[in-house]
Amino acid sequence: MPGFVREHLRPLMGSAGLHLLLLVLVAGAALRWTSTQPPVQLAIEGVVVDAKDLPKSARAGKPVPPPKVTPPPEIPKPRPEPEPKTEPAPPSPDVKAAEEVQAADAERRRVADEAARKEAAADAERKHAAVADARRKQEEQDKAAREAKLRSERESELQRQLAAEEEAAAVARSGVVDEYRAVLIQAIERNWIRPPSARAGLECTLFVTQATGGTVIDVKLGTCNGDQAVRESIANAVYRASPLPAPRDPRAFERRLQIVFKPTE
């Protein structure tokens, strides 16, 4: 018998393995039918999951897809098909009993192992899921925090701008800006020596920058339909008026002036 076994060890083992495999398959199939609980086991070595599918399917049900963490959250459809190529020779009738004993033993061990493995896998899965979940939650929180910060920054910028506008509007309402504009216009008109070619229809714009004390520091010509004499006269009008008068209320001061020369007659 031992000699026989030894002699036929490989076919025996093969046969036993095959049986075992069949059994497992049958059991597995039964399990699938009877339970909604997904079997997460067994197939570990044989399962091929399309990497492309995974994040997609994962993303489908989850609010935030953490692409690095890829636990198999759902059944990746294991396909434990029997391997037809490795089909062993059919066992001879005289070894059948021993085989059956062995198979029963193996089956028992298998079931036990499987249960343990199943437990461990489920456990790992739970841990994985927990970790992923935590990470995801953290990221969501971070993101929310970042957005909130950005929003509040924008809001405070808007607030600041609104306040500045409010201030400017208040100054404007007080008439100080109008008064400032009037004194500036007067100062420049007094200094604009109109050449004869500056007639109605002329329109020339100067962009003027003044220092705090009213000193003209830059004069740039914008659009102008006047001749050279006109161009020189308007720039010189601004320079001649320098230093420009200061506003009664310093808040009305404006560094940059847009001056449009538009004679009425």
Binding site: I193, A229, R256
Partner: protein, 440 residues
């Protein structure tokens, strides 16, 4: 939930972007005060013409003075008084612009007279005082006409650079002077520089001389002289003094005016009974009658294209200006309607305006009629202004006025803003006519 976050985030982002965009757009216009300038002053432009280097005091011609006087005479510029000049730079690098800014000069002219071979040359530079920008720098050799002519030329260049209009300071004026009292009077036809300097007598007579007119090339004058007791029209070349009588027909021969091509004269003759306008072909002496009205038709002036004449006529009861085409029909059209008296039309160089004497609020004044708009603007405000004549650049009108019962010359800018009286020690001065630009 996810869709919710998206849709909440989007409007948030959009709003923020919109807000930022609005800030960016509103920023410049808000941070800029806009001023609308609709008025200016009618002052002359302040300019400093610094005494030129290389000139010892007491030199016959003070270049800077000639330039400054020219610019002042144009009415457009107010040269700085010498006593106010804090420095005497003679070249660009020597100018401390802040000094001249304090003196409120907008522009500054510096220069010097330098030896140039056997003769000399004048170098000058023009700067904008406010910006320090160099606007003009040239060196002119002093020619046979001397330092004074060179100075006028410099004034021309400065005027053109600063106004966009060619200067007319190198041109000349012709006018008639009368000295003494009847019966011993002396009439002179005089040609002088545009600033009144260098007067030269072209012809003189104890009998009246009238109505000088420049040939288009500026080399001849036509005028009326009664030297033979009867009126006759003469043509005289200025360089040689050579002259010839071109019309001495019976009755009045008067008011010659050269056609734009210089080949014909429009004249007034009374040979057919009353005063009418004729044209005279100078080369052939061919006379063509243009008007034949019972009224007085006189003082012809050519249109720019030479195809019609403007003239004065009292055919409507008082003097008005008419235009007649030199075609078969010769139908005269009235041109002036504004005042009760308009006479002696003189065309502007661009052909768009007529200067004339107009009766305005009780005074005979110089008016300019815009031929397109038919709008007449009165330039002067005395009681007896007469004989207007445009400068060849159109910027100024010279005319005769009365100064304590004596005739004197005056100038007014063609927009009426500046008026200048020309001082004269030449007695009674009449009928100024401005020369064309010299052929260069």
């Amino acid at each position: 939930m996810q869709a919710g976050t998206e849709s909440m985030r989007r409007p948030g982002t959009t709003l923020a972007a919109l807000a930022l965009g609005l800030l960016a757009m509103a920023g410049p216009s808000h941070a800029q005060l806009r001023l609308d300038i609709t008025q200016g002053v009618r002052d002359a432009v302040p300019i400093a013409v610094v005494p030129f280097g290389g000139q010892t005091d007491g030199t016959a011609t003070d270049v800077a003075q000639v330039i400054a006087d020219d610019l002042r005479l144009s009415g457009r510029f107010a040269p700085l008084e010498r006593r106010d000049m804090v420095a005497r730079p003679t070249s660009g690098p020597e100018i401390r612009f802040q000094d001249w800014r304090l003196l409120k000069s907008d522009f500054i002219v510096v220069g010097r007279v330098e030896p140039d071979g056997a003769g000399s040359a004048v170098a000058f530079e023009l700067f904008n005082v406010q910006t320090g920008q160099a606007l003009l720098a040239q060196r002119l050799p002093v020619g046979s006409r001397g330092l004074r002519a060179a100075s006028h030329r410099i004034a021309d260049l400065i005027f053109e650079r600063l106004t966009g209009i060619p200067g007319a300071f190198s041109t000349r004026i012709a006018y008639v002077t009368v000295e003494g009292r009847p019966p011993s009077q002396r009439y002179r036809l005089v040609v002088a520089d545009a600033d009144g300097f260098n007067p030269r007598t072209v012809t003189q007579s104890s009998e009246p001389i009238m109505s000088p007119a420049w040939s288009p090339d500026g080399e001849s004058l036509a005028y009326v002289s009664f030297e033979s007791k009867l009126s006759a029209i003469y043509l005289q070349r200025l360089a040689s003094g050579e002259r010839r009588r071109v019309s001495a027909r019976s009755g009045i021969n008067g008011a010659p005016a050269f056609s734009p091509d210089g080949r014909r004269l429009a004249i007034t003759l009374s040979r057919d009974g009353n005063l009418d306008i004729y044209t005279l072909e100078l080369a052939t002496q061919t006379l063509t009658r243009v008007t034949s009205d019972d009224a007085i038709d006189t003082e012809p002036e050519w249109s720019k294209d030479g195809r019609s004449l403007y003239f004065t006529s009292d055919r409507a009861g008082n003097a008005q200006v008419y235009q007649v085409a030199l075609d078969e029909a010769r139908q005269a059209q009235r041109v002036t309607f504004t005042n009760g008296y308009n006479a002696r039309p003189r065309l502007s160089p661009d052909g768009n305006e007529l200067a004339m004497v107009t009766l305005d609020r009780g005074g005979y004044r110089i008016g300019v009629l815009d031929l397109k708009t038919r709008n007449l603007r009165v330039l002067t405000n005395a009681r007896q202004d007469e004989s207007p004549s445009f400068a060849p650049n159109g910027a100024t009108v010279i005319y005769a006025t009365k100064d304590r019962a004596r005739g004197a010359l005056a100038m007014v800018s063609s927009d009426g803003r500046f008026q200048q009286r020309l001082s004269s020690d030449q007695g009674d001065v009449r009928e100024p006519v401005w020369s064309p630009f010299p052929a260069r």
